[in-house]
């Protein structure tokens, strides 16, 4: 199952492009791991969508990986908990575990807001 966000048409950037445009305007590569269409997965996706729309409008990619269908993909990103959001880009890699209900914490986790909240 591969659901995509609005700007799905936008292709992932090549390494050179990433190097060139290491600024706020980078495209965010996000991957959400779920296990089937559980209410929690759905709410996590909805919450993520909302955050992205508010803070990263037009410059994000969301890839949803359903481990029930692709269990072999769990090892790659060391997924244990479900749902887990993995920020592949920008570096460094971040993981946010949970349904992203707490938007503030999610923003901190994604480093869209400093941890102190100022």
């Amino acid at each position: 199952m591969k659901k995509s966000g609005k700007p799905a048409a936008e292709k992932p950037l090549s390494l050179e492009e990433i190097a060139k445009t290491k600024t706020e305007s980078d495209v965010w590569e996000l991957r959400l791991y779920t296990a089937g269409q559980t209410p929690r997965s759905l709410s996590a996706f909805a919450n993520l969508k909302k955050i992205c729309e508010e803070h990263l409008q037009g410059r994000y990619n969301i890839e949803v990986v359903d481990l029930v269908k692709h269990p072999q993909l769990a090892a790659g990103d060391q997924i244990v908990a479900i749902p887990t959001l993995v920020r592949k880009l920008p570096q460094p890699l971040r993981k946010i575990v949970g349904d992203l209900r707490d938007t503030e914490r999610a923003l901190v986790g994604l480093q869209l807001r400093p941890a102190s909240g100022k």
């Binding site: 296990a35 029930v68 769990a74 060391q78 244990v80 887990t84 949970g98 349904d99």
Partner: protein
């Protein structure tokens, strides 16, 4: 000692069958001893918790369980590692002879490394561990695994913050593993005042095994205990275990009772005169022989004789030495004419030299147990047992010796123990208090007399054999131990040069008696000869006389004839007519 293993295996399998039939089915661990303690292994289809402090051997136990399943019992396994990568694990256990790569290729084993890095993880809201479930499930399904190890699942607590969720999820995980029908092993770190740091024993309640790595008096000992095993009988003691190049082995030594078989067969002590003292045939096979004595009285030499005799019969021996190195022993025994090196080269004799203090009593016991099981000797020598006290308290050493002797007797192994007695103490006792449990007790002591120190040996006790009550002088010669009669005189026992002078005196007396006899003999011969000479002379004389007589009578006759002739002639000349007839008749009569 093939009987030992054969019997053990038999009883093990019968136990196993019994337990399968009556209660829980079990998954054998393939670890020596552990299957005996648990009556057949871990509960099949249920999770087992292994807890212990760092370095106690938890991961190794889990890995051996998985590998044994994959290689010996046809049960593929999944090893979920939370601490080490698959490559590291593979490398760690390669020294134990486990080839994880090959097992993975053969689809018998999957090692999956689960890494949780807290620094890169944030938590918001609800989650579950479905990702982990899926990974484990996928691995299980990929090879049809029957066994799963989770090492160490507590790492989840370090990586994830929400304890409430984790606990609920772990409970669900163990339930899920049970539903899957896999036999799971979960390792956990020992906690303060609790079995595990995060209370996992609450969730895994079927079987809990505690590994302990204790250091007492700077000596470390590993022990294992089955804390809990629902629905089955199990050994409840603490059992020592070993981790060595052969992996994990548990030694349920205390489980042996006094039910060992006894043998009527006798084995030589290697010293013919000593065999004679012990009813003419030596020790009973499978008995325990203790030789005690003061320093330098030849205890080790007696042990070496016993070993030499056994090797000559083609039996295997193990010599545990706590004071001398193998090379030293071989050299020293060569000086009394025993070539032990030939037996080590032939593989009939093994030396195991180690200081008693090198490790704890349990480890000593465990090592000996393992050596005896693997090598299956018929004779085991411990030289000297008293030094084991240094590795623990006197009481512990005593308990250990009882266990060891029970074990050896159970296997029909003849045990030869030496014990050094302190000259200031009562001689007929042992520091380690084992004199009551040995079957034959030899005593070698010094006898000081006339400025000399000599050795004497006697049999203090020998169960089930007639034995001499005599003291024997004990000599170490260049052709081995020699036992000699001792002389008992008015001043007591004579040994050494006193014995020699006594011997000389006796020899002189004997010589004198012999010479006297010879002299009498010679006299008689001479007399007989003299008489015979005289008899011969007389006979000769008589012969002469006889001859004389004959000659004389012949002469007389001749003369008579001549006279007759003369008379005839005279008659003829006188022309007589009757004298003829008379002369003829006289001649015929002659």
């Amino acid at each position: 000692m093939p009987r030992l293993t054969a019997r053990n295996r038999k009883s093990e399998s019968s136990n196993h069958k019994k337990s399968e039939g009556r209660s829980l089915p079990k998954a054998p661990t393939g670890i020596q001893g552990l299957d005996e303690v648990t009556n057949g292994g871990f509960p099949r289809g249920r999770p087992t918790l292994i807890c212990g402090s760092a370095g106690a051997g938890k991961s190794l136990l889990a890995m051996e369980f998985i590998v044994a399943g994959a290689t010996e019992y046809g049960e593929p396994g999944v090893f979920i590692a939370f601490e080490e990568t698959a490559a590291e694990l593979t490398q760690n256990v390669r020294s134990l002879g486990f080839d994880l790569d090959r097992l993975a290729e053969e689809k018998k084993l999957i090692v999956d490394f689960v890494r949780i890095e807290r620094s890169e993880i944030d938590e918001t809201g609800d989650y579950d561990l479905e990702g982990l479930f899926i990974r484990i499930g996928a691995a299980i399904d990929a090879i049809g695994a029957k066994r799963v190890a989770l090492d160490t699942i507590e790492n989840l607590f370090a990586g994830l913050q929400n304890q409430g969720i984790l606990r609920a999820e772990l409970r669900r995980l163990f339930r899920w593993l049970k539903d899957k029908g896999v036999t799971a092993v979960i390792t956990a770190e020992r906690g303060e005042g609790a079995l595990t740091r995060h209370g996992l024993e609450e969730y895994v309640s079927d079987c809990v095994i505690l590994l302990d790595h204790r250091v007492t008096d700077q000596v470390s000992t590993r022990r294992l205990r089955v804390v809990k095993y629902r629905g089955t009988a199990h050994g409840t003691n603490e059992y020592p275990f070993l981790i060595d190049e052969g992996g994990f082995s548990v030694l349920p030594i205390t489980s042996l009772g006094l039910l060992h078989q006894v043998s009527d067969e006798r084995v030589s002590s290697g010293v013919p005169r000593l065999d004679t003292m012990l009813g003419g045939e030596g020790y009973h096979r499978g008995s325990t022989i203790l030789v005690s004595g003061t320093a330098g009285t030849g205890k080790t030499s007696l042990a070496a004789h016993m070993v030499d005799a056994a090797c000559r019969r083609g039996e295997r021996c193990v010599y545990f030495s706590f004071e001398e190195s193998p090379q030293q022993l071989i050299r020293n025994m060569r000086s009394i004419g025993l070539n032990l090196e030939q037996w080590t080269k032939k593989g009939l004799l093994q030396f195991h030299s180690s200081r008693a203090t090198i490790y704890g009593l349990e480890m000593h016991l465990a090592t000996m147990h393992k050596v005896v099981r693997e090598y299956e000797p018929s004779v085991v020598v411990l030289d000297p047992v008293g030094s084991l006290i240094q590795a623990g308290s006197q009481r512990d050493a005593h308990v250990m010796m009882v266990r060891l002797i029970d074990f050896l007797k159970h296997g029909g192994v003849t045990a030869f123990l030496t014990n050094l007695t302190n000259a200031n103490e009562s001689l007929e006792r042992t520091d380690i208090e084992i004199s009551s449990i040995v079957d034959t007790w030899l005593f070698v002591r010094d006898i000081e007399l006339n400025g000399e120190r000599n050795r004497a040996l006697y049999v203090l006790k020998s169960r089930g054999t007639a034995h001499s009550n005599q003291l024997r002088e004990f000599l170490l010669t260049d052709h081995g131990v020699d036992l000699l009669e001792v002389y008992v005189g008015p001043e007591g026992v004579l040994t050494g040069s006193s014995r020699l002078s006594q011997e000389a005196r006796e020899k002189a007396a004997a010589l004198a008696r012999k010479q006297e006899l010879e002299r009498i003999d010679r006299d008689r011969t001479r007399k007989r000869e003299a008489l015979e000479v005289r008899i011969t002379a007389l006979r000769k004389e008589f012969e002469f006389e006889e001859q004389d007589a004959e000659t004389m009578s012949a002469e007389v006759e001749k003369r008579e004839e001549l006279v007759a002739e003369d008379r005839k002639a005279m008659a003829r000349s006188r022309k007589a007519d009757t004298g003829d007839g008379f002369a003829v008749s006289k001649r015929n009569k002659k």
